[in-house]
Amino acid sequence: MEADYAALKRGGFMRQVQKNRFSLRLKVVGGNLTAEQIETVARVARAFGKGYVHLTSRQGVEIPFIRLEDVNAVQEALRAGGVDTGVCGPRVRTVTACQGASVCPSGCIETSALAMEISARYYGRSLPHKFKFGVTGCQNNCLKAEENDVGVKGAYIVRWIKEDCTLCGVCLKACRENALSERDGEIVLDAARCTYCGRCAKSCPTGAWRGESAYLLSFGGMFGNRIAKGRAVLPAFAEKERLFRVTDAALDFFDANAREGERFRAAIERGGWSLFENKVTEAYNGEI
């Protein structure tokens, strides 16, 4: 049997050093697997692999040492147990996420739900090169948003409510950016210094800071052969439809402007950041 390696790779089967052995990449969204899925994976690894899994650097799970002749049986067993196989090659890869606001006290946005939405919209979409999304719940950046082609970072757009403030002074020190000061019985926010980290709102004992969940996006990050930090070219914003308008535009830009085999970052740089910024700013403003 002549193996179609490209098709296998598309389906998540990575060719190993060992002849006719494949490390099978599974679909994981936002780093979460159910107990049932883990049991399925364990069963398959025991029956068809070598009884272990490998955790990838981006929250992925691979089952190494799958035999070529078992590929179909493995796919079936996984599907029956609620596990999807992953993708490799020039397409949208695993959407990673930290636990975010539904679990982590520092979280400013619900990351797991957002990762699922992003994954449902883009996972596996063919593009000129691989493409990674990462979602991190706040500025602590446990998920390292800027390593990704598109990074989503949770933020709070904060507003001070005078009537609820006891002028206790906690927020003045909780802010690491020195953006806050007290003047004549008012807490004054220096907007130019504010990073939307939300620490003031999280620490205020009376709820006098209202924090509206918001997204801060970064574009063009990568952390492989070449290392580049994703850049934020838009202000923080709260609306999810705006988020998807912008990410749609970013992926369309990549599709339209990249040469075959060119990473997102390289495509942006060749066309110039201002061209890219214009495209996503149009989408941000809803002009498309």
């Binding site: 020190k173 909780a174 690491r176 620490r199 620490s203």
Partner: protein
């Protein structure tokens, strides 16, 4: 200095300026556990990580923060009213 007026009266005091995070918070938590509900703890801590994080951790434990006073010697005093868990 206006800041020194009207500070809450404290029933107990704890100095955690000799500790680093997370021991700072662990000691504050232990001190609060020893106290009666409604009593006020004056908690002296260093500038930097402790003053950025300890007030929030104390709040998340459910206690009532009254005031963070700047001692203007590189330390701060957090006045906390103990709240008994429901």
């Amino acid at each position: 200095m206006e800041k020194y007026e009207n500070l809450p009266a404290a029933d107990a005091a704890l100095d955690i300026t000799d500790a680093v995070c997370p021991i700072t918070f662990v000691r504050a938590k232990a001190a609060l556990e020893e106290m009666e509900a409604g009593a006020v703890l004056a908690l002296r801590m260093n500038d930097g990580e402790p003053v950025q994080n300890v007030p929030r951790s104390v709040k998340e434990e459910g206690h009532r923060i009254l005031k963070l006073a700047d001692n203007e010697d590189g330390t701060y005093t957090l006045f906390v009213r103990k709240v008994e868990e429901a």
